[in-house]
Protein backbone atom coordinates (compact mmCIF):
# COMPACT_ATOMS: atom_id res chain seq x y z
CA UNK A 1 0.00 0.00 0.00
CA UNK A 2 3.06 2.26 0.07
CA UNK A 3 2.26 3.53 -3.41
CA UNK A 4 -0.63 5.65 -2.17
CA UNK A 5 0.31 9.11 -3.26
CA UNK A 6 -0.81 12.02 -1.15
CA UNK A 7 -3.64 13.89 -2.73
CA UNK A 8 -4.77 17.45 -2.22
CA UNK A 9 -8.26 18.89 -2.58
CA UNK A 10 -9.07 22.46 -3.54
CA UNK A 11 -12.54 23.83 -3.10
CA UNK A 12 -12.91 26.85 -5.33
CA UNK A 13 -15.86 29.27 -4.90
CA UNK A 14 -18.21 26.35 -4.48
CA UNK A 15 -21.96 26.90 -4.13
CA UNK A 16 -24.30 24.05 -3.30
CA UNK A 17 -28.06 24.08 -2.98
CA UNK A 18 -31.03 21.81 -2.38
CA UNK A 19 -33.83 22.82 -4.72
CA UNK A 20 -33.76 26.62 -4.34
CA UNK A 21 -32.16 26.75 -0.92
CA UNK A 22 -28.49 27.61 -0.86
CA UNK A 23 -26.61 25.34 1.51
CA UNK A 24 -23.06 26.35 0.72
CA UNK A 25 -22.35 29.84 -0.58
CA UNK A 26 -19.21 30.49 -2.65
CA UNK A 27 -16.93 28.54 -0.36
CA UNK A 28 -13.20 28.43 -1.05
CA UNK A 29 -11.11 26.09 1.02
CA UNK A 30 -7.83 24.31 0.45
CA UNK A 31 -7.53 20.92 2.10
CA UNK A 32 -3.94 19.98 2.82
CA UNK A 33 -2.68 16.68 1.59
CA UNK A 34 -1.72 14.05 4.08
CA UNK A 35 -3.47 15.90 6.91
CA UNK A 36 -6.61 15.34 8.94
CA UNK A 37 -9.12 18.09 8.28
CA UNK A 38 -12.20 18.19 10.49
CA UNK A 39 -15.34 20.02 9.41
CA UNK A 40 -17.38 21.19 12.37
CA UNK A 41 -20.37 23.43 12.89
CA UNK A 42 -23.97 23.41 14.06
CA UNK A 43 -26.63 21.23 12.42
CA UNK A 44 -27.55 22.46 8.97
CA UNK A 45 -24.32 24.37 8.44
CA UNK A 46 -23.73 22.40 5.25
CA UNK A 47 -20.79 20.28 6.33
CA UNK A 48 -22.29 16.94 5.29
CA UNK A 49 -23.45 18.38 1.99
CA UNK A 50 -19.95 19.70 1.42
CA UNK A 51 -18.52 16.26 2.10
CA UNK A 52 -20.95 14.71 -0.39
CA UNK A 53 -19.99 17.35 -2.95
CA UNK A 54 -16.31 16.57 -2.47
CA UNK A 55 -17.20 12.98 -3.40
CA UNK A 56 -19.28 14.39 -6.31
CA UNK A 57 -22.55 13.05 -4.93
CA UNK A 58 -24.00 16.54 -4.97
CA UNK A 59 -23.84 18.62 -8.11
CA UNK A 60 -22.44 22.12 -7.48
CA UNK A 61 -24.53 25.15 -8.38
CA UNK A 62 -21.35 27.03 -9.12
CA UNK A 63 -17.63 26.72 -8.52
CA UNK A 64 -15.21 23.88 -8.83
CA UNK A 65 -13.65 21.08 -6.86
CA UNK A 66 -10.10 20.16 -7.77
CA UNK A 67 -8.19 17.05 -6.85
CA UNK A 68 -4.50 17.42 -7.59
CA UNK A 69 -5.51 20.37 -9.77
CA UNK A 70 -7.95 18.35 -11.86
CA UNK A 71 -11.64 19.34 -11.87
CA UNK A 72 -13.54 16.34 -10.49
CA UNK A 73 -16.36 17.01 -12.95
CA UNK A 74 -14.02 15.62 -15.60
CA UNK A 75 -13.09 12.41 -13.80
CA UNK A 76 -14.90 9.12 -14.56
CA UNK A 77 -17.00 7.29 -11.95
CA UNK A 78 -14.50 4.55 -11.22
CA UNK A 79 -11.42 6.77 -11.57
CA UNK A 80 -12.85 9.17 -9.00
CA UNK A 81 -13.70 6.24 -6.70
CA UNK A 82 -10.03 5.23 -6.85
CA UNK A 83 -9.10 8.70 -5.55
CA UNK A 84 -11.75 9.47 -2.93
CA UNK A 85 -13.48 7.08 -0.57
CA UNK A 86 -16.54 8.07 1.43
CA UNK A 87 -18.02 6.46 4.49
CA UNK A 88 -21.64 7.58 4.57
CA UNK A 89 -23.27 8.84 7.74
CA UNK A 90 -25.48 5.80 8.27
CA UNK A 91 -24.49 3.25 5.68
CA UNK A 92 -26.61 0.13 5.26
CA UNK A 93 -26.33 -3.27 3.63
CA UNK A 94 -28.32 -6.51 3.94
CA UNK A 95 -27.85 -8.03 7.37
CA UNK A 96 -27.01 -11.42 5.92
CA UNK A 97 -24.13 -10.01 3.88
CA UNK A 98 -20.80 -11.35 5.12
CA UNK A 99 -18.05 -9.08 6.36
CA UNK A 100 -15.81 -10.19 3.50
CA UNK A 101 -18.48 -9.53 0.87
CA UNK A 102 -19.04 -6.05 2.27
CA UNK A 103 -15.32 -5.21 2.31
CA UNK A 104 -15.08 -6.53 -1.27
CA UNK A 105 -17.40 -3.74 -2.42
CA UNK A 106 -14.48 -1.37 -1.91
CA UNK A 107 -12.71 -3.09 -4.79
CA UNK A 108 -15.48 -2.26 -7.26
CA UNK A 109 -13.64 0.72 -8.83
CA UNK A 110 -10.52 -1.38 -9.33
CA UNK A 111 -12.30 -3.96 -11.44
CA UNK A 112 -13.67 -3.99 -14.96
CA UNK A 113 -14.64 -6.53 -17.56
CA UNK A 114 -11.07 -6.48 -18.81
CA UNK A 115 -9.70 -6.65 -15.31
CA UNK A 116 -11.74 -9.05 -13.21
CA UNK A 117 -11.12 -9.86 -9.55
CA UNK A 118 -7.50 -10.89 -9.05
CA UNK A 119 -4.91 -11.56 -6.36
CA UNK A 120 -4.26 -7.84 -5.84
CA UNK A 121 -7.89 -7.31 -4.90
CA UNK A 122 -7.68 -10.22 -2.48
CA UNK A 123 -4.56 -8.73 -0.90
CA UNK A 124 -6.21 -5.32 -0.64
CA UNK A 125 -9.22 -6.63 1.26
CA UNK A 126 -6.98 -8.77 3.47
CA UNK A 127 -4.92 -5.65 4.32
CA UNK A 128 -8.03 -3.59 4.95
CA UNK A 129 -9.47 -6.25 7.28
CA UNK A 130 -6.14 -6.66 9.07
CA UNK A 131 -5.72 -2.92 9.48
CA UNK A 132 -9.14 -2.58 11.08
CA UNK A 133 -8.88 -5.78 13.10
CA UNK A 134 -11.85 -7.55 11.54
CA UNK A 135 -10.07 -10.41 9.76
CA UNK A 136 -11.36 -12.95 12.27
CA UNK A 137 -14.94 -11.83 11.46
CA UNK A 138 -14.63 -12.26 7.70
CA UNK A 139 -17.27 -15.01 7.44
CA UNK A 140 -19.65 -13.44 9.93
CA UNK A 141 -22.90 -11.90 8.76
CA UNK A 142 -22.90 -8.18 9.44
CA UNK A 143 -26.26 -8.38 11.22
CA UNK A 144 -24.56 -10.38 13.98
CA UNK A 145 -21.88 -7.77 14.72
CA UNK A 146 -21.80 -5.18 17.51
CA UNK A 147 -22.01 -1.51 16.57
CA UNK A 148 -18.29 -1.01 17.04
CA UNK A 149 -17.37 -4.07 15.00
CA UNK A 150 -19.73 -3.04 12.23
CA UNK A 151 -18.24 0.44 12.04
CA UNK A 152 -14.77 -1.08 11.70
CA UNK A 153 -16.05 -3.27 8.88
CA UNK A 154 -17.41 -0.23 7.06
CA UNK A 155 -14.08 1.54 7.52
CA UNK A 156 -12.37 -1.57 6.12
CA UNK A 157 -14.64 -1.31 3.07
CA UNK A 158 -13.52 2.29 2.47
CA UNK A 159 -9.88 1.31 3.08
CA UNK A 160 -10.06 -1.52 0.56
CA UNK A 161 -10.83 1.16 -1.99
CA UNK A 162 -7.21 2.33 -1.46
CA UNK A 163 -7.88 6.00 -2.08
CA UNK A 164 -5.54 8.88 -1.30
CA UNK A 165 -8.45 10.83 0.18
CA UNK A 166 -10.83 9.34 2.74
CA UNK A 167 -13.99 11.20 3.74
CA UNK A 168 -15.89 10.10 6.83
CA UNK A 169 -19.26 11.61 7.68
CA UNK A 170 -19.75 11.50 11.44
CA UNK A 171 -18.12 8.10 11.80
CA UNK A 172 -18.50 7.97 15.58
CA UNK A 173 -22.21 8.73 15.77
CA UNK A 174 -24.12 6.05 17.64
CA UNK A 175 -20.93 4.56 19.06
CA UNK A 176 -20.21 4.35 22.77
CA UNK A 177 -17.15 6.15 24.12
CA UNK A 178 -14.78 3.18 23.86
CA UNK A 179 -15.75 2.58 20.26
CA UNK A 180 -15.54 6.27 19.41
CA UNK A 181 -11.96 6.31 20.65
CA UNK A 182 -11.15 3.08 18.85
CA UNK A 183 -12.62 4.38 15.59
CA UNK A 184 -10.80 7.73 15.69
CA UNK A 185 -7.54 6.05 16.72
CA UNK A 186 -7.89 3.91 13.65
CA UNK A 187 -8.43 6.97 11.46
CA UNK A 188 -5.42 8.75 12.98
CA UNK A 189 -3.35 5.62 12.49
CA UNK A 190 -4.27 5.44 8.79
CA UNK A 191 -3.27 9.02 8.37
CA UNK A 192 0.01 8.64 10.24
CA UNK A 193 1.01 5.36 8.66
CA UNK A 194 -0.08 5.83 5.05
CA UNK A 195 -0.27 9.60 4.75
CA UNK A 196 -3.83 9.52 3.53
CA UNK A 197 -5.66 12.81 3.36
CA UNK A 198 -8.57 12.53 5.76
CA UNK A 199 -11.66 14.73 5.78
CA UNK A 200 -13.88 14.17 8.77
CA UNK A 201 -17.22 15.57 9.81
CA UNK A 202 -17.43 15.47 13.60
CA UNK A 203 -20.03 16.80 16.01
CA UNK A 204 -18.02 16.49 19.19
CA UNK A 205 -15.81 19.57 19.43
CA UNK A 206 -13.37 17.99 21.85
CA UNK A 207 -12.88 14.94 19.65
CA UNK A 208 -12.45 17.32 16.71
CA UNK A 209 -9.81 19.35 18.57
CA UNK A 210 -8.05 16.20 19.62
CA UNK A 211 -7.70 14.70 16.14
CA UNK A 212 -7.68 17.55 13.67
CA UNK A 213 -4.54 18.93 12.07
CA UNK A 214 -6.80 21.59 10.62
CA UNK A 215 -10.17 22.51 12.01
CA UNK A 216 -12.76 24.17 9.79
CA UNK A 217 -15.67 25.91 11.49
CA UNK A 218 -18.74 26.35 9.33
CA UNK A 219 -21.94 28.25 9.91
CA UNK A 220 -24.89 28.79 7.57
CA UNK A 221 -23.02 27.59 4.51
CA UNK A 222 -19.95 29.69 5.05
CA UNK A 223 -16.55 29.03 6.50
CA UNK A 224 -16.19 31.05 9.67
CA UNK A 225 -12.67 30.10 10.60
CA UNK A 226 -9.97 27.67 9.66
CA UNK A 227 -6.75 26.74 11.41
CA UNK A 228 -5.01 24.58 13.95
CA UNK A 229 -7.31 23.64 16.85
CA UNK A 230 -5.05 25.35 19.38
CA UNK A 231 -5.39 28.67 17.59
CA UNK A 232 -8.95 28.34 16.41
CA UNK A 233 -10.77 27.07 19.43
CA UNK A 234 -11.41 30.03 21.65
CA UNK A 235 -14.39 31.29 23.55
CA UNK A 236 -15.42 33.99 21.08
CA UNK A 237 -15.31 31.71 18.03
CA UNK A 238 -17.31 29.01 19.76
CA UNK A 239 -19.89 31.56 20.86
CA UNK A 240 -20.07 32.86 17.28
CA UNK A 241 -20.28 29.48 15.53
CA UNK A 242 -22.36 27.43 17.95
CA UNK A 243 -24.17 30.15 19.87
CA UNK A 244 -23.15 28.78 23.23
CA UNK A 245 -21.00 30.21 25.97
CA UNK A 246 -18.13 27.97 26.82
CA UNK A 247 -14.84 27.99 28.62
CA UNK A 248 -11.86 26.69 26.68
CA UNK A 249 -9.00 25.21 28.70
CA UNK A 250 -5.97 23.23 27.67
CA UNK A 251 -6.33 19.51 28.10
CA UNK A 252 -3.61 18.64 30.64
CA UNK A 253 -2.84 15.30 28.99
CA UNK A 254 -2.55 16.15 25.30
CA UNK A 255 -2.23 19.92 25.38
CA UNK A 256 -5.16 20.29 23.05
CA UNK A 257 -7.99 22.77 23.61
CA UNK A 258 -10.89 21.45 25.60
CA UNK A 259 -14.29 23.09 25.43
CA UNK A 260 -16.50 23.16 28.48
CA UNK A 261 -19.99 24.55 27.85
CA UNK A 262 -21.16 26.87 30.59
CA UNK A 263 -24.85 26.92 31.44
Amino acid sequence: MGDLTKTSVHIDKLSLSYDQTTVIDALSLPIEEGKITVLAGPNGCGKSTLLRAIRRLHRPQAGRLLIDDIDIARIGHKALARQIGLLAQSPSAPEDMTVEDLVRLGRYPHQSMLQPWNALDGEAIARAMDGTGVSHLRHRRIGSLSGGQLQRVWIAMVLAQETGIVCLDEPVNHLDMAHQIECLKLVAHLNALYGRTIILVLHDLNLAARHADTLVFMKEGRMVARGAPGVLMNEETIADVFGISARVITDPVHQRPLCIPVY
Partner: protein, 340 residues
Protein backbone atom coordinates in the same frame (compact mmCIF):
# COMPACT_ATOMS: atom_id res chain seq x y z
CA UNK B 1 -33.36 0.82 6.00
CA UNK B 2 -34.88 -2.54 6.81
CA UNK B 3 -33.05 -5.69 6.00
CA UNK B 4 -33.67 -9.31 6.72
CA UNK B 5 -32.30 -10.70 9.94
CA UNK B 6 -31.05 -14.23 9.88
CA UNK B 7 -30.31 -16.16 13.00
CA UNK B 8 -27.12 -17.94 11.91
CA UNK B 9 -24.03 -15.81 12.54
CA UNK B 10 -21.39 -17.24 10.26
CA UNK B 11 -21.88 -17.92 6.59
CA UNK B 12 -20.09 -20.91 5.10
CA UNK B 13 -16.91 -20.33 3.10
CA UNK B 14 -18.21 -20.79 -0.42
CA UNK B 15 -14.99 -20.75 -2.44
CA UNK B 16 -14.79 -24.51 -2.62
CA UNK B 17 -18.47 -25.23 -2.16
CA UNK B 18 -19.79 -23.41 -5.22
CA UNK B 19 -18.45 -25.80 -7.90
CA UNK B 20 -20.03 -28.70 -6.01
CA UNK B 21 -23.36 -26.85 -5.91
CA UNK B 22 -23.21 -26.05 -9.64
CA UNK B 23 -22.50 -29.67 -10.54
CA UNK B 24 -25.16 -31.06 -8.21
CA UNK B 25 -27.83 -28.65 -9.49
CA UNK B 26 -26.90 -29.35 -13.12
CA UNK B 27 -27.25 -33.08 -12.48
CA UNK B 28 -30.64 -32.51 -10.85
CA UNK B 29 -31.72 -30.43 -13.82
CA UNK B 30 -30.67 -33.15 -16.26
CA UNK B 31 -32.66 -35.69 -14.25
CA UNK B 32 -35.69 -33.39 -14.13
CA UNK B 33 -35.60 -32.87 -17.89
CA UNK B 34 -35.27 -36.64 -18.44
CA UNK B 35 -38.23 -37.21 -16.12
CA UNK B 36 -40.20 -34.55 -18.00
CA UNK B 37 -39.65 -36.54 -21.22
CA UNK B 38 -40.57 -39.85 -19.60
CA UNK B 39 -43.47 -39.13 -17.27
CA UNK B 40 -46.97 -38.06 -18.26
CA UNK B 41 -50.35 -39.36 -19.35
CA UNK B 42 -48.25 -42.17 -20.77
CA UNK B 43 -44.89 -43.20 -19.33
CA UNK B 44 -41.94 -43.98 -21.56
CA UNK B 45 -38.74 -45.83 -20.74
CA UNK B 46 -35.32 -44.25 -21.18
CA UNK B 47 -34.81 -46.64 -24.07
CA UNK B 48 -37.94 -45.37 -25.84
CA UNK B 49 -36.74 -41.80 -25.34
CA UNK B 50 -33.34 -42.68 -26.77
CA UNK B 51 -34.93 -44.46 -29.76
CA UNK B 52 -37.28 -41.54 -30.44
CA UNK B 53 -34.33 -39.18 -30.82
CA UNK B 54 -31.75 -41.48 -32.43
CA UNK B 55 -34.05 -43.34 -34.84
CA UNK B 56 -37.29 -41.34 -35.07
CA UNK B 57 -40.15 -43.30 -36.64
CA UNK B 58 -43.89 -42.86 -37.00
CA UNK B 59 -44.66 -44.71 -33.78
CA UNK B 60 -46.95 -43.04 -31.26
CA UNK B 61 -44.12 -42.99 -28.72
CA UNK B 62 -41.75 -41.18 -31.08
CA UNK B 63 -44.38 -38.61 -32.05
CA UNK B 64 -45.45 -37.87 -28.48
CA UNK B 65 -41.86 -37.63 -27.29
CA UNK B 66 -40.53 -35.36 -30.03
CA UNK B 67 -43.63 -33.24 -30.71
CA UNK B 68 -45.28 -32.95 -27.31
CA UNK B 69 -42.82 -33.82 -24.59
CA UNK B 70 -39.63 -32.28 -26.00
CA UNK B 71 -40.90 -28.69 -26.42
CA UNK B 72 -42.18 -28.50 -22.86
CA UNK B 73 -39.14 -30.33 -21.46
CA UNK B 74 -37.01 -27.55 -22.95
CA UNK B 75 -39.40 -24.66 -22.44
CA UNK B 76 -40.04 -25.26 -18.74
CA UNK B 77 -36.37 -25.03 -17.69
CA UNK B 78 -35.74 -22.05 -19.99
CA UNK B 79 -38.70 -20.17 -18.51
CA UNK B 80 -37.64 -21.13 -15.00
CA UNK B 81 -34.04 -20.03 -15.56
CA UNK B 82 -35.16 -16.70 -17.04
CA UNK B 83 -37.59 -15.94 -14.21
CA UNK B 84 -35.11 -17.05 -11.54
CA UNK B 85 -32.44 -14.66 -12.84
CA UNK B 86 -34.98 -11.87 -13.38
CA UNK B 87 -36.11 -12.32 -9.77
CA UNK B 88 -32.55 -11.94 -8.46
CA UNK B 89 -32.07 -8.69 -10.37
CA UNK B 90 -35.52 -7.33 -9.39
CA UNK B 91 -34.99 -8.00 -5.69
CA UNK B 92 -31.66 -6.20 -5.70
CA UNK B 93 -33.00 -3.33 -7.81
CA UNK B 94 -35.97 -2.92 -5.45
CA UNK B 95 -33.86 -3.67 -2.34
CA UNK B 96 -36.85 -5.77 -1.41
CA UNK B 97 -36.87 -9.50 -1.10
CA UNK B 98 -40.53 -9.97 -1.73
CA UNK B 99 -40.32 -8.14 -5.05
CA UNK B 100 -40.57 -10.13 -8.29
CA UNK B 101 -41.00 -9.41 -12.00
CA UNK B 102 -44.74 -9.16 -11.18
CA UNK B 103 -43.90 -6.27 -8.86
CA UNK B 104 -42.64 -4.27 -11.83
CA UNK B 105 -45.90 -4.91 -13.69
CA UNK B 106 -44.25 -6.95 -16.44
CA UNK B 107 -46.61 -9.90 -16.26
CA UNK B 108 -49.61 -7.59 -16.01
CA UNK B 109 -48.41 -5.76 -19.11
CA UNK B 110 -47.99 -9.05 -20.95
CA UNK B 111 -51.44 -10.27 -19.93
CA UNK B 112 -53.09 -7.02 -20.95
CA UNK B 113 -51.32 -7.03 -24.31
CA UNK B 114 -52.41 -10.60 -24.98
CA UNK B 115 -56.02 -9.94 -24.05
CA UNK B 116 -56.08 -6.77 -26.17
CA UNK B 117 -54.43 -8.49 -29.13
CA UNK B 118 -56.94 -11.28 -28.90
CA UNK B 119 -60.09 -9.18 -28.49
CA UNK B 120 -59.27 -6.01 -30.35
CA UNK B 121 -57.09 -7.35 -33.14
CA UNK B 122 -58.47 -10.88 -33.34
CA UNK B 123 -55.09 -12.50 -32.86
CA UNK B 124 -55.51 -16.17 -32.04
CA UNK B 125 -52.29 -17.81 -33.18
CA UNK B 126 -49.81 -18.77 -30.51
CA UNK B 127 -46.87 -16.94 -32.14
CA UNK B 128 -49.05 -13.81 -32.38
CA UNK B 129 -50.06 -13.97 -28.72
CA UNK B 130 -46.46 -14.71 -27.80
CA UNK B 131 -45.24 -11.60 -29.58
CA UNK B 132 -47.99 -9.54 -27.94
CA UNK B 133 -46.90 -10.85 -24.54
CA UNK B 134 -43.26 -9.92 -25.10
CA UNK B 135 -44.20 -6.45 -26.32
CA UNK B 136 -46.62 -5.98 -23.42
CA UNK B 137 -43.96 -6.91 -20.88
CA UNK B 138 -41.44 -4.56 -22.48
CA UNK B 139 -44.01 -1.75 -22.66
CA UNK B 140 -44.88 -2.18 -18.99
CA UNK B 141 -41.18 -2.22 -18.10
CA UNK B 142 -40.58 0.99 -20.05
CA UNK B 143 -43.64 2.63 -18.52
CA UNK B 144 -42.63 1.79 -14.96
CA UNK B 145 -39.04 2.86 -15.63
CA UNK B 146 -40.17 6.08 -17.29
CA UNK B 147 -42.60 7.10 -14.54
CA UNK B 148 -40.21 6.16 -11.72
CA UNK B 149 -37.27 7.93 -13.37
CA UNK B 150 -39.38 10.95 -14.28
CA UNK B 151 -40.64 11.31 -10.72
CA UNK B 152 -37.18 12.44 -9.67
CA UNK B 153 -34.67 9.64 -9.31
CA UNK B 154 -35.01 5.89 -9.54
CA UNK B 155 -35.22 5.10 -5.85
CA UNK B 156 -36.02 1.49 -4.95
CA UNK B 157 -39.19 2.57 -3.15
CA UNK B 158 -40.40 4.52 -6.16
CA UNK B 159 -39.72 1.61 -8.49
CA UNK B 160 -41.82 -0.71 -6.32
CA UNK B 161 -44.66 1.82 -5.87
CA UNK B 162 -44.92 2.57 -9.58
CA UNK B 163 -44.53 -1.11 -10.48
CA UNK B 164 -47.27 -2.26 -8.13
CA UNK B 165 -49.57 0.50 -9.40
CA UNK B 166 -49.01 -0.40 -13.04
CA UNK B 167 -49.45 -4.10 -12.23
CA UNK B 168 -52.74 -3.39 -10.47
CA UNK B 169 -54.00 -1.26 -13.36
CA UNK B 170 -52.98 -3.89 -15.91
CA UNK B 171 -54.74 -6.68 -14.06
CA UNK B 172 -57.83 -4.50 -13.59
CA UNK B 173 -58.05 -3.82 -17.33
CA UNK B 174 -57.66 -7.54 -18.05
CA UNK B 175 -60.52 -8.28 -15.65
CA UNK B 176 -62.71 -5.61 -17.19
CA UNK B 177 -62.14 -6.83 -20.72
CA UNK B 178 -62.64 -10.47 -19.82
CA UNK B 179 -65.87 -9.85 -17.89
CA UNK B 180 -67.45 -7.35 -20.28
CA UNK B 181 -66.72 -9.56 -23.24
CA UNK B 182 -68.55 -12.64 -22.12
CA UNK B 183 -67.03 -14.81 -24.76
CA UNK B 184 -64.15 -16.20 -22.77
CA UNK B 185 -61.53 -18.01 -24.70
CA UNK B 186 -60.40 -21.09 -22.91
CA UNK B 187 -57.05 -20.76 -24.63
CA UNK B 188 -56.70 -17.28 -23.24
CA UNK B 189 -57.61 -18.22 -19.70
CA UNK B 190 -55.19 -21.10 -19.78
CA UNK B 191 -52.56 -18.78 -21.22
CA UNK B 192 -53.19 -16.23 -18.47
CA UNK B 193 -52.42 -18.84 -15.84
CA UNK B 194 -49.09 -19.71 -17.44
CA UNK B 195 -48.52 -23.00 -19.20
CA UNK B 196 -45.90 -24.82 -21.23
CA UNK B 197 -48.17 -27.53 -22.64
CA UNK B 198 -48.98 -27.58 -26.39
CA UNK B 199 -46.35 -25.01 -27.29
CA UNK B 200 -44.39 -25.41 -30.52
CA UNK B 201 -40.63 -25.80 -30.24
CA UNK B 202 -40.19 -22.67 -32.35
CA UNK B 203 -41.32 -20.61 -29.35
CA UNK B 204 -38.39 -22.07 -27.41
CA UNK B 205 -36.04 -21.22 -30.25
CA UNK B 206 -37.38 -17.64 -30.32
CA UNK B 207 -36.96 -17.30 -26.58
CA UNK B 208 -33.34 -18.48 -26.32
CA UNK B 209 -31.59 -15.36 -27.72
CA UNK B 210 -33.58 -13.04 -25.44
CA UNK B 211 -32.92 -15.14 -22.35
CA UNK B 212 -29.24 -15.33 -23.33
CA UNK B 213 -29.02 -11.55 -23.85
CA UNK B 214 -30.72 -10.90 -20.51
CA UNK B 215 -28.42 -13.36 -18.75
CA UNK B 216 -25.27 -11.82 -20.25
CA UNK B 217 -26.41 -8.31 -19.32
CA UNK B 218 -27.21 -9.42 -15.76
CA UNK B 219 -23.78 -11.08 -15.50
CA UNK B 220 -22.06 -7.89 -16.70
CA UNK B 221 -24.00 -5.85 -14.13
CA UNK B 222 -23.30 -8.36 -11.35
CA UNK B 223 -20.45 -6.48 -9.59
CA UNK B 224 -22.46 -3.24 -9.67
CA UNK B 225 -25.51 -5.10 -8.34
CA UNK B 226 -23.34 -6.40 -5.49
CA UNK B 227 -22.63 -2.79 -4.54
CA UNK B 228 -26.27 -1.72 -5.05
CA UNK B 229 -27.22 -3.97 -2.14
CA UNK B 230 -25.70 -1.29 0.07
CA UNK B 231 -27.25 2.18 0.32
CA UNK B 232 -27.05 4.60 -2.62
CA UNK B 233 -24.33 6.77 -1.07
CA UNK B 234 -22.08 3.77 -0.48
CA UNK B 235 -22.74 2.34 -3.95
CA UNK B 236 -22.07 5.67 -5.66
CA UNK B 237 -19.07 6.15 -3.36
CA UNK B 238 -17.36 3.05 -4.74
CA UNK B 239 -18.01 4.28 -8.27
CA UNK B 240 -21.29 2.68 -9.35
CA UNK B 241 -23.13 4.90 -11.88
CA UNK B 242 -26.51 4.40 -10.20
CA UNK B 243 -28.79 5.55 -13.03
CA UNK B 244 -26.98 3.62 -15.71
CA UNK B 245 -26.89 0.40 -13.69
CA UNK B 246 -30.58 0.68 -12.77
CA UNK B 247 -31.49 1.27 -16.42
CA UNK B 248 -29.40 -1.75 -17.41
CA UNK B 249 -31.06 -3.84 -14.72
CA UNK B 250 -34.47 -2.85 -16.10
CA UNK B 251 -33.42 -3.96 -19.58
CA UNK B 252 -32.13 -7.30 -18.26
CA UNK B 253 -35.33 -7.92 -16.29
CA UNK B 254 -37.49 -6.98 -19.27
CA UNK B 255 -35.57 -9.27 -21.64
CA UNK B 256 -35.71 -12.21 -19.24
CA UNK B 257 -39.32 -11.77 -18.16
CA UNK B 258 -40.48 -10.78 -21.65
CA UNK B 259 -38.98 -13.95 -23.11
CA UNK B 260 -40.47 -16.12 -20.35
CA UNK B 261 -43.93 -14.62 -20.64
CA UNK B 262 -43.82 -14.90 -24.42
CA UNK B 263 -43.12 -18.61 -24.14
CA UNK B 264 -45.33 -19.66 -21.25
CA UNK B 265 -47.50 -16.75 -20.17
CA UNK B 266 -47.23 -15.31 -16.69
CA UNK B 267 -45.77 -18.09 -14.54
CA UNK B 268 -46.02 -16.53 -11.12
CA UNK B 269 -44.01 -16.83 -7.92
CA UNK B 270 -40.91 -18.29 -9.61
CA UNK B 271 -39.14 -14.93 -9.68
CA UNK B 272 -40.17 -14.37 -6.07
CA UNK B 273 -39.15 -17.66 -4.46
CA UNK B 274 -36.13 -18.81 -6.47
CA UNK B 275 -33.85 -15.90 -5.45
CA UNK B 276 -34.31 -16.90 -1.81
CA UNK B 277 -33.05 -20.39 -2.56
CA UNK B 278 -30.22 -18.89 -4.62
CA UNK B 279 -29.08 -16.63 -1.80
CA UNK B 280 -29.25 -19.52 0.63
CA UNK B 281 -26.99 -21.65 -1.58
CA UNK B 282 -24.77 -18.99 -3.15
CA UNK B 283 -24.60 -16.08 -0.71
CA UNK B 284 -24.97 -12.48 -1.83
CA UNK B 285 -22.50 -12.21 -4.71
CA UNK B 286 -24.54 -11.80 -7.86
CA UNK B 287 -22.48 -13.88 -10.31
CA UNK B 288 -22.94 -16.91 -8.08
CA UNK B 289 -26.50 -16.01 -7.23
CA UNK B 290 -27.50 -15.68 -10.89
CA UNK B 291 -26.04 -19.05 -11.88
CA UNK B 292 -27.73 -20.82 -8.97
CA UNK B 293 -31.02 -18.97 -9.57
CA UNK B 294 -30.99 -20.04 -13.22
CA UNK B 295 -30.43 -23.68 -12.27
CA UNK B 296 -32.90 -23.73 -9.37
CA UNK B 297 -35.53 -21.90 -11.43
CA UNK B 298 -35.09 -24.36 -14.27
CA UNK B 299 -35.46 -27.33 -11.94
CA UNK B 300 -38.45 -25.76 -10.17
CA UNK B 301 -40.51 -25.07 -13.29
CA UNK B 302 -39.58 -28.41 -14.87
CA UNK B 303 -40.77 -30.28 -11.78
CA UNK B 304 -43.86 -28.06 -11.56
CA UNK B 305 -44.66 -28.88 -15.17
CA UNK B 306 -44.41 -32.61 -14.40
CA UNK B 307 -46.71 -32.13 -11.39
CA UNK B 308 -49.13 -30.17 -13.60
CA UNK B 309 -49.72 -33.35 -15.57
CA UNK B 310 -51.01 -35.21 -12.51
CA UNK B 311 -52.77 -32.90 -10.04
CA UNK B 312 -56.07 -32.99 -11.96
CA UNK B 313 -55.25 -36.14 -13.92
CA UNK B 314 -56.15 -36.88 -16.68
CA UNK B 315 -56.52 -33.13 -17.38
CA UNK B 316 -53.57 -30.75 -17.38
CA UNK B 317 -53.28 -28.00 -14.80
CA UNK B 318 -51.52 -24.77 -15.81
CA UNK B 319 -47.93 -24.86 -14.57
CA UNK B 320 -48.37 -21.33 -13.23
CA UNK B 321 -50.98 -22.67 -10.78
CA UNK B 322 -48.48 -25.20 -9.44
CA UNK B 323 -45.64 -22.69 -9.08
CA UNK B 324 -48.04 -20.27 -7.39
CA UNK B 325 -49.32 -22.79 -4.84
CA UNK B 326 -45.88 -24.16 -3.99
CA UNK B 327 -44.36 -20.68 -4.10
CA UNK B 328 -47.07 -19.31 -1.83
CA UNK B 329 -46.39 -21.98 0.78
CA UNK B 330 -42.64 -21.38 0.58
CA UNK B 331 -43.18 -17.64 0.93
CA UNK B 332 -45.34 -18.14 4.02
CA UNK B 333 -42.62 -20.34 5.50
CA UNK B 334 -40.04 -17.63 4.76
CA UNK B 335 -42.16 -14.94 6.37
CA UNK B 336 -42.72 -17.13 9.40
CA UNK B 337 -38.98 -17.72 9.75
CA UNK B 338 -38.32 -14.03 9.44
CA UNK B 339 -40.90 -13.23 12.12
CA UNK B 340 -39.42 -15.85 14.46
Amino acid sequence: MTTIALTAHAAPDRTFRMPVIYVALSAMLALAIAASLMIGLKAYSPLQIWTAFSRPDASEAAIVITNLRLPRALMAPLVGAALGMAGVVVQTLARNRIASPDTLGLNAGASLAVVLASFALGVTSLPGLSLAAALGALAAGLLVFGIAAGAGGLSPVKIVLVGVTIAGLGHAFVEVILTTREAVFEQLLFWLAGAVVDRPISLVANGIPFVAAGAVLAAILAPALDALQADDTTAAGVGVPLGLVRAGAFVAISLLTGAAVAMAGPVSFVGLVVPHAARHLAGLRHRRQLIVAALVGAIYVTLADIAARFVIYPSEAPVGAITAVVGGIVLLALLKRRAA
